[in-house]
């Protein structure tokens, strides 16, 4: 009997300890959500509250609400002023930017040119974003509300660089206080409240926001991390979250068929491509590369690898970019065979497609099947991601399947990808063509928008004729929301202007 009692007491004590430990802190925060609050699900946690301490789209969503930049992008990818009141160019390399007066930081201090110059200079020093303003030579304070930015050379994409989260304007005094972003102070429509690592970030509406036309619409926004795609969709269905920034493709119909939910879909800037190493046979032959553009069935790839959530790609950028022009190719196996014969490969050849990851493997398999129809035998080589990127950079491949998500200015993609100086960098095809280099330079330096558009038009035409890659498709961004939400907007970079969303 003694033993039995002891055992019971023992279990009871453990149970008590455990309940105390397990439930301490729990329970009190059962969410009582009013209709005034918004919950947004993200697929991964943010990495930093410092807008200059990250370079990822999840952290960006929070940074955009808490901080402002001099300029921002609208949903059509056009640059519009945010903090900037006016700007002018005294010379090709100088920009005078005047900021709005009376912009108040969350700590009650007013933003001045001092803060702007400090922030832009800091941005150039921060490891994660130092490349954004690499063309900027110096930033100087002119008067209380004006700064002068000097660039290394005439640099057309300059205003586009100022929309990056890494160029957010921070209060100088706050950074110098050494708080290390435990309680970040910005000027944006929302004030930072709480960050629970791996779980959620909470921001509250800032009533003193300077831009009365773009005030936050919900009183509170919670970003919840839900890494698993199915769990995200279910959370939307149960109403635990109001918006999911990424709907996984297999749940597309589940969301669109549900009367209480709404699916938003827009082409992204993420271009998936089949890249050929122009230094290796048979891809050193331009005719072969062109033939590959006729040989691959892109529609099949979109259906198999993407459940239809994408659009066919016809050039080296997504269609939303300045100066975009579609290439001359369409799916035509006969034409491909003809070109292969002309190039001296009437009986086809063997190639290796290198890639990494399940999605890209599926894409490679469809390409493999397409190529079989035109007499090309492709074998697929799967590598671990780090090794794959190393091989791509070092040219240790014949062909590869990869994707590239572009920043809004065409130059930010085209120079890394096609400039001869970036061989052993992101110029995976290793194309080394003085004409391409010159066109890239012209595009960077042309300040007249119409002329710049023309330059890029020609660039698309020329580079598609060189055919260093087969553009496959551009992914669609899928956002799911509660059907009664208003103000849900998408740009090619995903969920946009979150401050405008409300019930």
């Amino acid at each position: 009997m003694k033993y039995k009692t002891k055992l019971t007491v023992y279990f009871a004590v453990i149970l008590m300890c455990v309940s105390l430990m397990a439930f301490a802190g729990g329970g009190q925060d059962v969410q009582e959500q009013t209709n005034d609050e918004l919950t947004v699900a993200l697929s991964a946690g943010i990495t930093s509250l410092d807008p200059q301490g990250h370079n990822d789209t999840k952290s960006e969503k929070v940074s955009f609400l808490v901080f402002n930049r001099l300029f921002k992008l609208n949903t059509d990818f056009k640059v519009v002023p945010d903090l900037a009141e006016s700007w002018e160019q005294p010379s090709e390399t100088e920009w005078l930017i005047k900021i709005k007066e009376g912009v108040m930081f969350h700590d009650g201090s007013e933003m001045t040119a001092e803060d702007v110059a400090f922030s832009l200079n800091r941005s150039k020093e921060m490891p994660k974003v130092q490349q954004v303003l690499s063309e900027v030579k110096s930033v100087d304070v002119v008067d209380k509300y004006t700064v002068k930015v000097t660039t290394n050379s005439a640099f057309a994409p300059f205003l586009y660089t100022l929309v990056h989260a890494g160029t957010s304007i921070l209060p100088k005094a706050y950074i110098e206080s050494g708080d290390e972003f435990a309680n970040p102070v910005g000027s944006g429509p929302y004030v930072f409240t709480e960050w629970v690592s791996g779980d959620k970030v909470v921001v509250d509406k800032y009533d003193n926001y300077f831009d009365k036309n773009n005030m936050g619409q919900s009183s509170k926004i919670t970003f919840k991390v839900i890494p698993e795609g199915t769990s995200r969709t279910i959370a939307l269905e149960t109403g635990e979250v109001d918006v999911i920034a990424e709907v996984q493709t297999i749940d597309k119909n589940k969301v669109s068929d549900n009367g209480e939910l709404k699916l938003h879909e827009v082409p992204s800037t993420r271009l998936n491509f089949f890249e050929m190493n122009t230094e290796k046979a048979p891809f050193d032959n331009q005719l072969v590369r062109q033939a590959m553009n006729y040989a691959i069935d892109k529609e099949a790839i979109i259906i198999v690898a993407l459940e239809g959530a994408g659009i066919q790609a016809d050039s080296v950028l997504a269609p939303s970019f300045l100066g975009y022009k579609a290439g001359p190719y369409s799916y035509n196996p006969e034409k491909a065979k003809e070109l292969f014969a002309q190039a001296g490969y009437p009986d086809g050849f063997e190639i290796t497609i290198t890639t990494s990851g399940d999605d890209r493997k599926r894409m490679a398999e469809v390409i493999q099947a397409s190529l079989m129809d035109v007499g090309v035998t492709a074998s697929i080589e799967m590598l671990e991601w780090g090794t794959f990127i190393d091989s791509a950079i070092n040219g240790n491949f014949e062909s590869l399947v990869l994707a590239w998500t572009s920043n809004p200015d065409p130059d930010a993609t085209l120079t890394p990808r096609f400039f001869s100086g970036n061989i052993n960098g992101m110029n995976f095809s290793r194309i080394n063509d003085p004409k391409i280099d010159q066109m890239l330079k012209d595009g960077r330096e042309e300040l007249d928008l119409g002329q710049r558009e023309k330059t890029y038009n020609e660039f698309h035409e020329y580079v598609m004729n060189q055919a260093t890659m087969v553009p496959l498709f551009v992914n669609n961004i899928l956002v799911g929301s509660n059907a009664s939400l208003k103000g849900v907007e998408l740009s090619p970079q995903g969920l946009w202007n979150i401050e405008k969303i409300h019930f």
């Binding site: 033993y3 039995k4 055992l7 004590v13 453990i14 149970l15 300890c17 455990v18 430990m21 397990a22 439930f23 729990g26 329970g27 009190q28 925060d29 059962v30 969410q31 990495t47 930093s48 301490g53 990250h54 370079n55 490891p127 994660k128 974003v129 130092q130 490349q131 690499s134 629970v196 690592s197 791996g198 779980d199 959620k200 919840k224 991390v225 839900i226 890494p227 698993e228 199915t230 769990s231 279910i234 959370a235 269905e237 149960t238 635990e240 671990e384 991601w385 780090g386 090794t387 990127i389 190393d390 930010a412 890394p416 960098g425 992101m426």
Partner: protein
Amino acid sequence: MYHFLIKFIAVIKYEQIGGTVLKYIIRRLLLLLPVMLGVIFLVFFIISLTPGNVASMILGDGATDERIVELREEMGLNDPLIIQYGRYMGSLLRGDMGVSYADGRSVAGEIGQRFPNTFKLTITAIILSVLISIPIGVISATKQYSIFDNLGMILALIGISMPSFWIGLILIIAFSLNLGWFPSGGMSGVMSLILPAFTLAIASTASITRTTRSSMLEVIRQDYINTAKAKGVSKNKVITKHALRNALIPAITVIGLEFGVLLGGAVLTETVFSWPGIGRLMVQSIQRKDTPMVLGCIIVFTLSFSIVNLLIDILYAYLDPRIKENYK
């Protein structure tokens, strides 16, 4: 964990074996040091063998080669591995686990935020599975081949075979989506703990039940059980007092192992239920080649696993005085 230690030490003192067992505990804790050193050493070198360049990963796309070389130099990544290891151990011994390569946050702070979440989940899951599995195991053994036994064993087999992410999703669909009883994920109070804890508990319940049943079957065939029965001891008393105490030893070993493993984070369950635990943190850090964070997670994992095992060993002594003799 601390509460447990206090509790056990109290029990031991009460049993007046404090001196020897306390010495044993201290010896075991000291033995932990070489284990930790070995584990850190191995993990450090294994991570260094994985491909990928930390500096270019930190700097992201578009970083210049010069900047990458500079940063590698700044971070000391160009030094020989053994020097890097020495430097890491040096600061670790001063109690500094370093900062994450990926986001510059303190490793100790991040783990301090995440580990309690994993602990909450694990302890609830283990309690749940012990409360379910021990009675089922005992009844299955005493009524061997009965309907109850067969049913119990079939359930255990199913529990062991089903992958946790699948069970998790099914539970979410049934109890969150259709019935709306529990939140589908996240960490918001007691209700959000139940589904993930239950998911975790299912697999361990299955193995603990099977172990309890088989060791119970072995014990109730022993002569001393027959003796006790022959002396006219009631059936319940024979089972609870004479048989269970001995049969519990293998079951407790399994409980300890399950507990230790779960404390290392249950990646799949944490992912399905968006639970901000240490398992997800570790996997994410491995993918990012975030050496300080991975090492931090491994240290916590090794420590908690070892401490749980130590507690289990002490529990043996409490259950079986013969084992206690060995501790001297």
